[in-house]
Assembly symmetry: C2
Homo-oligomer: 108 residues x 2
DNA sequence: TTCTTAATTAGCCTTGACTCTAATTAGACT
DNA sequence: AGTCTAATTAGAGTCAAGGCTAATTAAGAA
């Protein structure tokens, strides 16, 4: 899971809305595309952004692609964000959790 | 709390690192700036992005500005992200939590 | 094969993000 | 006042994101 890709993917209202919809269950690309006032190619790039972050997966059934949420990556992202934003109680856990701790790049 | 601003603010490694550092306690702008290989004006824009999202607050003490994390907004953001990415058990809670549920914009 | 539907790719344009150097404000000290 | 340090603003350049129309691929149906 690449947090950068996930945050980039989440940083658009349409893409967040797609995530929210897919939480209720899978949906087809065309079906989702109808819900927003953008062209289908634009929707295609939104799907690509979400796929690149591995937040959604698509399965082709004939001519239709059905997207579903990738719960694993969603939870990994939550964990990473919790690690970043979650409160620390008393700054006790320096090397707290799953992801990389702060890695500064000091002067060379 | 504007999720868009928060996600925009988090979508940069330096800014995420600043958040991580401020979790350990307040830090001065100049002190933080030294930790990265970018110019001070660039750091200033990063601080601005974080301030615009209200993730950090700065207090001027003479000529020095000390930044500290805004834990309230951080937790609100976590809550909103949990609402978005957190698992739903069985898609039972349609109108689940604090933030706005899906608001589609159907064809006019 | 030809037609229709679903989705993506290609090409283009506009806007916003990120970075820099140079100049400017703001405060403290001599 | 003059000067030093801390931080921001101004201006400019590069690059990625987001959007469109038009063209292309892929699959199924006539």
């Amino acid at each position: 899971m690449k947090l950068t890709e996930v945050l980039k993917a989440l940083n658009h209202p349409i893409r967040r809305d797609i995530i929210a919809r897919l939480k209720d269950g899978p949906a087809t690309a065309g079906g989702l595309a109808k819900a927003y006032q953008v062209s289908k190619p634009t929707m295609s790039t939104h799907f690509s952004a979400l796929k690149e972050a591995d937040l959604i997966r698509g399965e082709r059934d004939g001519v239709t692609i059905t997207y579903h949420l990738n719960a694993t990556v969603a939870e990994e992202a939550m964990s990473a964000l919790m690690d970043l934003l979650g409160h620390n109680d008393a700054a006790a856990s320096k090397s707290s959790a799953t992801s990389n701790s702060r890695k500064p790049e000091p002067s060379p």
